[in-house]
Every structure is written in structure tokens, then in C-alpha cells.
Symmetry: C2
Subunit: 172 residues, 2 copies
């Protein structure tokens, strides 16, 4: 494809959709939960602010692994927005083989709900899960934000074009 020439008009298939999605930059987050169903955490970029009245975010989680039920059954989760220096942490929570040990490498606290809060996250959004809407392979969790912690100086970490992009003061 020549530079600057959009390759419009081709029929849509899954690979074309994924290629387009790879060009929609998104913050990298670790979504955690804890409660009667157990502790869990996953790396996810499909998080979106919805409204500040009442403070609400949504999180899209793949139902394929079955682990998504922990989030639904605990009814609480924390969106830990990763900071510029968190690439290794992101990889750890995206890697199924490190499920048993992924919480051992960093400092975790709690706010209101008991879901694990990453101590040096750029921002942490402590949430109670409300409505859950199934769409194809994924579930969309609408979450009421009941507590936040922020550390603006940490910068941000964005996933774009299939790679990490550190942003802001922590990126240097």
C-alpha cells in the first residue's frame, strides 16, 4: 500500500477489522478483582469512560477463557491504568503461564471494594460492577466508580500499531 493512500473499498473480513483496530490507540490497563470467587487480573485496553453522572466506566472482557466469571461473580473490579514504566507488568498480566505468580512482582493495596489496586498506577478506578451486556464473544461491564487514586507524574502507556508507546513525564 502506498504511503498516504487509504486502501478503501476492500471487503471486510476479520483480519481487516483487526488491522483497523490496531490503529485505534488505547491506554493499557490491568483489570483486577478479588472476593468470594477468587483473585484475578488481566491486561486489557478495551476500557472507556462513559459519564461522570454518575461516575461510570465500561470494560470489555473476552468470555472465552471463562475467567471473566470471577469479575462478574465478585461484582467488583479495579481498572489500574498503567504508567509509562509498566511494560513488563503489562506482559505479565497478558501471559497465561504467569497466572499464579503475576501479583508477586509489584506493590498492591486496596481502596473501597477490595479489588487489588496497583500502588504506582497512573490512575486506579475502584468499581462496583453494574449491568453486564453480552456482545458476540465479549461481555461489556458497566462499572460505577466508587474510589480513585492518581499519580499524574507516572505518565501513561498506550498500545498503538501493535506496540507500546510511553507518554508524558514518566516516558523518558
Amino acid at each position: 500500500m502506498a504511503a498516504g493512500v487509504p486502501d478503501a473499498g476492500q471487503p471486510l473480513d476479520r483480519d481487516r477489522f483487526r488491522e483497523a483496530m490496531s490503529l485505534l490507540g488505547a491506554a493499557v490497563n490491568v483489570i483486577t478483582t478479588d472476593g468470594p470467587a477468587g483473585r484475578h487480573g488481566i491486561t486489557a485496553s478495551a476500557v472507556c469512560s462513559v459519564t461522570d453522572s454518575p461516575p461510570t466506566v465500561l470494560v470489555c472482557i473476552n468470555r472465552g477463557s471463562g475467567r471473566y466469571r470471577l469479575f462478574r461473580d465478585n461484582g467488583v473490579l479495579c481498572v489500574n491504568v498503567l504508567a509509562a514504566h509498566h511494560q513488563a507488568l503489562s506482559n505479565r498480566f497478558a501471559n497465561a503461564t504467569e497466572a499464579a505468580t503475576r501479583f508477586e512482582h509489584d506493590r498492591w493495596t486496596v481502596l473501597t471494594t477490595g479489588a487489588p489496586v496497583l500502588a504506582d498506577a497512573g490512575a486506579s478506578l475502584d468499581c462496583r460492577v453494574g449491568q453486564v451486556t453480552d456482545v458476540g464473544t465479549h461481555s461489556v461491564f458497566f462499572c460505577e466508580v466508587v474510589g480513585v487514586a492518581t499519580s499524574k507524574q507516572a505518565g501513561g502507556l498506550v498500545w498503538f500499531d501493535r506496540g507500546y508507546h510511553p507518554l508524558g513525564p514518566g516516558a523518558g
Copy 2:
């Protein structure tokens, strides 16, 4: 607040929520529509990939202005993911006073639905609107993606910490 010390534990209010949301980086998009209800376009960062089976994205739109009805009534929209050089375009579609002339400065085409497609967007997702879910002040539009155009060489544009951050090959 000292560098690196999260200010956890404070009661949540709207300003605290907004501060946390400002640290959740997000791609900048211009969401367009056209059809019987009229042509319109707005700048929005609340766009999220949901699933590739079937190809679906969601878009959160404020109901406050009333213009959101154009998207609902037309039943089609295009998510134009802005490229690194699109800051002025982003400002134009965020500025209410330029509503009448905002489409005049750039080159627009169409794909399948007839919603305006920005010719040099990083990616354009041409969509049919499906389910619409109201949450507080906003509506969440679940959209089936029926056509895409991409221009990877354009780079990306992210909103983080209340400022623009160009990414990738078009950022230089």
C-alpha cells in the same frame, strides 16, 4: 502531591473522577453521520473495540446537545480515527461555533453506509448502529463495522493528561 505518591483514600467527587479520566489515554476520533436526519460530526475519544465476531465497536455520545439524535435516527456512523497531523481538525469538530463549516476544510469520501469518511484518517470504521444503551448523561452506541479504510503511515493521535500526543510515523 509528591511525585510518585498516589493520593488514595480521598472521597470521590466529580472533579476527582475527571482527573482520573484525564490520565486514561485515548485515541482522538471524529464521529460522523449522514442520512435523512442530516449530516453531523463530533470529536470524541470514548470509542472502544468490543469484539471481532461480529466486528463491533462502541461509541459513547453525550445526549446533552440533542445532536446525538442525528446518529441514532440515521442509524449509521463512521469512526474516523485521527492521525498524528489532525490536531486542528480535532479542534474544529469539538468547537460548536464551527458546526456549519467544519466539513469544508478536509477531503471526505464515503464507503458503504454514506457516513462521511475522512480521506486521510489513520483508520475509518464505517458502521451500522445496533443497540443503544443509555447510561446517565450518555448513550452507548453498539455499532456493527461494515467497512474499513486504513492508512497506517499516518500515525496516531492520543489525548492524555489534557493534551494531544502524536504517535508513530506521522508524528515527526
